[in-house]
């Protein structure tokens, strides 16, 4: 007699980490007994019973307080329990954000109708990765809503809770905790490598537009989902970049590539002069009755605290962000002016870049691009490159290496973070893969080598080779970065 369970195959079920709860509180809002509920500004999932919410928040407060006993200025960042992990982040003074992640687990079936045994795999979650994800949640909120304290000043707890609810309800759904890794720790920007000539063309384009449209305060230029130039501060650009590449751009995939009769084509069909169109704001300039508005973003929150309209305008694979003071009313006239000014120039520029890029590729040959699996990050300019990740969007990050190897990279990155020195760590994994981590001058490089029979010396030679080969690639990268830095400071 075969039991139904046996017939279905006694398989182990693997559960990946998932979001259990997420909440934001400020202890100052409910300091007295009986007022605890007032501390809670946002709580997901909303169905949780009120007293349980209060207890969970109370636990976090207790833990933070407890760790202050030993270090008043460096309280708890995470709590590890058997079943889950909690991350704490004091985003602004007294405003705490907490993310609770369920530990990955394996469910092993038992015979005879016994409930399955659950084995929790705590080591699979790296604190630095999910801690960074939590911090990024705050940065993304702040980009579109400004700081917590300003909202509170403007409209008290009511306004703040409203804003939090509106933003996080949607944003939390985009978190894909099962695919977070080292790149989340970096939160870097992928730069597009350019030759000097083309770079200068883009520079002068930006200058011309900024001169003609005096309302434009800041500009950012991207090509192919990679950054070329930005007038924003680094930290602001970094979070804007994440928004653009993981949210806005994927929503508006190229209609130029769509067929003639595709519904995606309307805005292009009428205008044979250029391929430019608005990604934010007016979807169709031809329709005079259509209402539109631009998203608002907040930058320089530490000092000048500016609220801006975010205009994103795209032609083929080139995208430009124009940021205008939010106090200004941007009407249809302005948009048409921008469209007729920028559209043709941007279209030309986009095909120029494409052509130049292809020429460069042909000259240097495909070997120029290192064949190694590596991840590079520069702390100074946030430049990031990975040949391991095949597609990074909000939903999926496919890697071409085993997740355990990515976690080893995460471990090495944690070890690097301990001291402020140049270091090199080479490890040989149980699968005989070699992983090399190098940290020098604020830059980190991780290389994965699948050379099972190599020894330490051979591995060392390979990585030296990468360094040499990559030299030209990185030089080009460095060049555009230097120019970004120079022009940003002007």
């Amino acid at each position: 007699l075969i039991s139904p369970r046996m017939a279905s195959g006694m398989q182990e079920k693997q559960y990946t980490p998932s979001l259990l709860s997420f909440f934001i509180y400020n202890p100052k809002f409910g300091p007295r007994e009986g007022e605890e509920e007032k501390k809670i500004l946002f709580y997901h999932p909303i169905e949780i019973e009120k007293n349980e919410k209060i207890r969970n928040v109370g636990l976090c407060e207790a833990i933070v307080q407890f760790t202050r006993t030993f270090s008043p200025t460096n309280p708890a960042k995470s709590l590890h329990t058997q079943k889950n992990r909690q991350f704490f982040h004091e985003a602004e003074e007294n405003y705490w954000m907490v993310m609770v992640v369920r530990n990955p687990m394996v469910e092993k079936p038992n015979k005879d109708g016994k409930p399955p045994t659950v084995e929790y795999q705590e080591e699979e979650i790296i604190d630095s990765v999910y801690g960074s994800v939590l911090q990024q949640c705050y940065c993304m909120y702040k980009l579109f809503n400004g700081t917590f304290s300003r909202a509170f000043e403007a409209g008290g707890v009511e306004l703040l809770t409203q804003k939090l609810e509106k933003f996080f309800y949607r944003y939390l759904q985009t978190l894909h905790l099962q695919s977070c890794d080292l790149l989340d720790v970096f939160g870097g920007i992928s730069f597009f490598p350019l030759d000097k000539m083309t770079y200068l063309k883009i520079q002068s384009f930006v200058n011309r537009v900024e001169e003609s449209l005096s309302l434009v305060k800041y500009t950012a230029f991207l090509y192919n989902d990679q950054l070329i130039w930005s007038g924003l501060e680094q930290d602001d650009m970094r979070i804007l970049y994440k928004y653009l590449t993981t949210s806005l751009f994927p929503r508006h995939s190229e209609p130029e590539l769509a067929g003639r009769d595709s519904p995606l084509r309307p805005e292009v069909a009428g205008n044979l002069l250029h391929y430019g169109r608005f990604l934010t704001g007016p979807a169709n300039l031809k329709d005079p009755d259509a209402k539109f508005r631009f998203p608002r973003i907040f930058v320089n929150t530490e000092d000048s605290y500016e609220e801006l309209h975010l205009i994103v305008y795209k032609a083929m694979t080139a995208a430009v962000c124009f940021m205008v003071n939010a106090a200004v009313d941007l009407n249809r006239e302005f948009c048409e002016q921008l469209d007729s000014l920028v559209g043709p120039q941007l279209t030309l520029l986009a095909s120029d870049i494409c052509e130049q890029f292809n020429i460069n590729r042909r000259i240097s040959g495909p070997e120029k691009e290192p064949q190694f699996k590596f991840i590079y990050f520069n702390h100074m300019n946030l430049a990031e490159k990975s040949t391991i990740h095949m597609r990074k969007t909000a939903s999926v990050s496919l890697t071409s290496v085993h997740p355990d190897l990515m976690k080893i990279l995460g471990d090495i990155n944690c070890d690097f973070a301990r001291v402020n020195e140049d270091e090199e760590i080479i490890v040989k994994a149980m699968t005989d893969y070699w992983v090399v981590g190098k940290k020098s001058d604020q830059r980190e490089l991780y290389v994965i080598l699948n050379q099972k029979n190599a020894n330490l010396i051979e591995v060392n030679e390979e990585v030296k080779r990468l360094d040499m080969m990559g030299m030209d690639y990185f030089t080009t990268l460095k060049l555009s970065i230097v120019q970004v830095l120079l022009t940003a400071s002007v």
Partner: protein, 484 residues
Amino acid sequence: MESHRDPLCDINRTSRRLVIFHLLWPRRTSVDALGLAYMNEEIMSESWRQHRKHVFVLSEAGKPIYSRYGNEEALSSTMGVMMALVSFVQAGGNMIQSIFSDEHTVVFLQKGPLVFVSVSATRQSEQQLRRELLHVYHQIVSMLTQASINRIFERRKNFDLRRLLFGSEKVLDGLLDVMDSDPSFMLSAVQCLPLPSSSRDALSHILQKAITPDLVFSFLIANNRLVSVVQEKTVLEDARLKPSDLHLLFNLIRASAFQAGEIWMPICLPLFNHDCYFYAYVAYLDPPECTVCLVLLSTDKEAFYAVAECKRKIEEAFASQNALQWVANTQLYYVDDISVANLRHFLYKPSKVLDHHRHPEMEVGYRSQEERIRLLDPYRNMHNRIHSTSRPLKLIYHSAGKETLLAWVTSKFEMFACFTPLVTKKSAISELTKLLRWIKKEEDRLFICHLPKYSTAPQPGRSSTDRGSSARPNTSDTGLLSLL
């Protein structure tokens, strides 16, 4: 014959036994200025906060039992908070494990009615810190036995265990200090004294001859390194004595800080059998230097005189062969004869059945105790990475500003080495190879390769199961001393 039932039948008997304890383990006297300073250290002061590792022991009821720094009574509200955190998470059907901040790691461990908390700035891993807490628990068990701890708290949840541990804070202090400075704990191994195998065999032979019924182990220790160990074969069957138990035994002896004369003390070896006592006879064979220590373990509480007689026989045999000289003369090895100019320090542990490790005194570089202790931090970090349960590694090579470190695990051995910072990979590997060859050559001298056995005549009416030494399954890869 009373044999090996737990003598703690009621609290009165306990206090009688503890009088002996009290005499044997002098409590913190005014001579021990540092200990007193810590005991009276003002809690929450800057200096208290800055200690590298705090360890707290409390009962499930939140009652303080021990604090490494500061008076545990003054810490009772902090300990109350700790217990509250543990209970709160438990109430949710979950178990608290640790808290991480930029500077500290807080690790929790609950064993029966006792709760252990470590607050550490050493950046050791959670698993390593928890293992240390487990050692602290086992040290307490070594003094009281697990069965009595559980029974006491079953009857009285509010019991103040300090009554039973009165005077033993020094033992725990000593354990924590030695764990912070001795790599033996990280490696789960015991360090042995290098001796030509002929000498070691001769010493073992002497020990094997001086036996008495119910004597189960005889150890010879010199300068905290194991010289020789012999084991009774019938009674113990396949039971194993783990390095962790040996460390606890050594620590108890160290903490007793006696010089002349002899000690007869009950000791429980928790990993061997956590519910019953052995009785240890301890004496130094070379007063007043007191570097060579003899430890004889018996299962019979009343056997003091018989065991003391064994010691006398051993002393006689040592004198006639001038055996003490072999132990005193043995050089802590210098690795001069092979050219390993860039190698500064190493730890080596063979994975064979007997686990001993060694670390040599090196000519250059890391002679000072501080340097050796400082090296423990990166060694422990590498140990943690290389033995990770979810993503273990075979090799780690770490070049940093101060030094270059290497960790290597194979099926035959495990080793950690430290080189000068500018060493090339080629030199490092070549020196390592030379070193490994040298170790292989000297193997007999460096490690205890086998365990001599003896048998005592079995007593009527006694079965081996009475000893409480049920054959324990060969657990994990933590080091073992086993019967061959």
